[in-house]
Subunit: 393 residues, 2 copies
């Protein structure tokens, strides 16, 4: 186990109807004038918008709104939000939505406290020193951004999907997680979310660090729960319990409970970011394509770890004589699981084309620290290309 710091100071308020506490929580964290950031009409249909705004009113808070955040959030709306904050002097941001809305609010928060272009933080030209407090009302179980120290935005100039450097400053003050709000999600979004959560754990689970027994088991506990809950949530969209399991798993998968003391991988995420940038596919859908291909490529490096994955998560029978067989069976069952959720299987299923691979690699090269990446196995352009090719087979 390696030395580590674990810091997860966000207050999580979890359960049916808890979004009615939004105003009270803003007050608790000393907010007075709120910019409410959200996406489209879904929060109006499922009642979340009404509940949150009624709660802001009841707490006597001044508020205005910024709507129109899209999946794979773009720089345009961030610039717009920063403008709005500068003009109106908001001192608190509420993100009502999923990862895209939260990341947009985070970027508005630090962008508004900085005189230059907020993109400077992404290119490394400036360092985040101050930000506006963000509170979250989560409407989809997936990203983990509700408790995280990171934020990903696509810069429209150049189509660059980049993350800002991690900092505790941008962790939300509070996050309200009401599983009921996720019951009305389209099946595809529920499935994408499950794939995303699963991938967040895999990025931590597949580690070269020895002696991390406890976090290994925590990872397995989370993965088993997703394998159990996701099909239930799809079969019975209104059932509370599988939604609650997925939503809480989404938080724990990304607050680093499962990642402390170990080198993490994150290669699949890095490759997927290119898919989202090129094809505007949902993050979870892209991960469902890349993660099994990544596993297929890297498992020979440590077949025992993948055999353990197959045995502990998918109940494969351990082949003690040929553990690599169990390893492959685990990867196969992951594919079957993703497919059963209606997720895409191949690069082509999300509109991807092998002809674009060189461009994707070039794109990756433009990022600060573009290559190499990956903690379980170091990835250069060659490895990235190999995984993308495997994902199309």
């Amino acid at each position: 186990m390696e030395n580590f710091t674990f810091y997860a100071p966000t207050m999580f308020v979890f359960g049916d109807g808890e979004e009615q506490k939004t105003g009270e929580l803003v007050r608790h964290f000393n907010g007075t004038k709120v910019l409410l950031v959200y996406g489209g009409g879904s929060v109006k249909k499922n009642g979340a918008y009404d509940a949150v705004t009624a709660s802001l009113d009841a707490a006597g808070l001044a508020w205005e709104e910024l709507s129109g955040v899209q999946a794979n959030p773009r720089s345009g709306i961030v610039y717009k939000g920063i403008e709005q904050v500068r003009e109106e002097g908001f001192d608190f941001l509420i993100a009502l939505g999923g990862g895209s809305v939260i990341d947009t609010a985070k970027a508005i928060g630090f962008g508004a406290c900085y005189d230059g272009d907020f993109w400077d933080f992404f290119t490394g030209r400036a360092k985040i020193k101050k930000t506006l407090p963000v509170g979250v009302v989560l409407t989809i179980a997936a990203a983990g951004s509700e408790g995280s120290d990171s934020c990903v935005i696509t810069q429209e100039r150049g189509n660059l999907k980049w993350g800002c450097p991690k900092t505790d400053l941008i962790r939300p003050k509070f996050a309200i997680l009401d599983p009921r709000l996720t019951c009305t999600l389209p099946a595809s979004q529920t499935a994408n979310g499950a794939a995303d959560i699963f991938a967040h754990i895999c990025e931590r689970y597949f580690s070269p660090t020895p002696d991390v027994a406890l976090t290994d088991r925590l990872c397995e506990a989370l993965m088993k729960t997703i394998v159990d809950a996701a099909p239930e949530a799809l079969a019975h969209p209104d059932a509370y319990s599988p939604r609650a399991d997925l939503m809480w798993a989404g938080m724990l998968a990304h607050n680093n409970s499962c990642g402390v003391g170990r080198v993490q991988d994150w290669a699949s995420h890095q490759i997927e970011h290119e898919l989202s940038a090129f094809y505007d596919c949902a993050h979870g859908a892209g991960l469902a394509v890349i993660l099994p291909a990544w596993m297929e490529y890297v498992y020979p490096k440590d077949p025992m770890r993948f055999a353990r994955f197959g045995t502990e998560v998918f109940g494969c029978e351990m082949d003690y004589a040929r553990p690599e067989r169990t390893a492959r069976e685990g990867i196969r069952r992951l594919r079957v699981f993703f497919k059963s959720l209606g997720l895409p299987e191949k690069l082509q299923d999300i509109g991807g084309r092998l002809e674009d691979v060189p461009d994707m690699i070039e794109h990756r090269r433009e990022k600060p620290n573009g290559f190499p990446f990956g903690g379980f196995m170091k990835f250069g352009p060659e490895e990235m290309e190999a995984v993308l090719r495997l994902s199309a087979e």
Copy 2:
């Protein structure tokens, strides 16, 4: 699953040698004048005292010390510490030690910010509104007090071992966990700590709340880790890895990661508090006596849950036709496990006597909300007596 709030804002700094960051962390949390609270000579022998004081000096902090905290911490030293803070104007407390030292520092922290007797907070006569910040350098894996919102002190007037009402205000600002510092613990303390951690999970695991699949699995991940790591730590006292597993498990077992959304039990802890008060036994030793007796008494209420415990934690073969057999086998294996660590088995082993049972019950009655207690099964005086009698058989 029930609605819940999860808030664990303590910063955990974990690993070999990390106590050298104490001064830097006090500065980070705006401390300037430190009272260093500790127990006896062990922190001088294992180098922790030297490392911490050197680090306070290096950070340019003024500091003084208060030593002599004992196991099952008593009110006397709390009064002494409060006096010291009032005279010298300390603005930060460092607890260098285990649960007893941390709880003493917490009580000094809120006692010093209050004009009356600090015991008023325990009797319910006053409510904690302000406290001095506490930082922890942990030297034993067990109590979980390093991240918790609670604190237990024995009032010498009347020999009352009571907890103060829980409040986020008393959570430590930071906690440094260096597993290396626990390598020099006597075997008995390592074993007591393991029993205490195990019990902290059981108090949450045995719940009447349905649909808590994820936390059930997290609890099992932790319990399996303790069953694996504790014998290793005893067999190879200097090995880092089992010490690290135990220490991190101790934190997770008590920061409520494993307890959210469910009714918790805590009957074994309540009964054990009487054993500690009467016989001054170590908390973990008392729990090793009470927990299996409690299980034996309550398992018929939900044999399936105890069968799951036996199967998932101790690898029992599930008897699908007679799950209560698997339940009993799980409890038997817990006794074997505790015994293998050298822990006491019976009431008599910690100097307990059945003749004292009526007095213990009377003692319990004097507490605010003394009876009933227990979330898995409601305990009145009769149930408490039954478990104490079982613990002597």
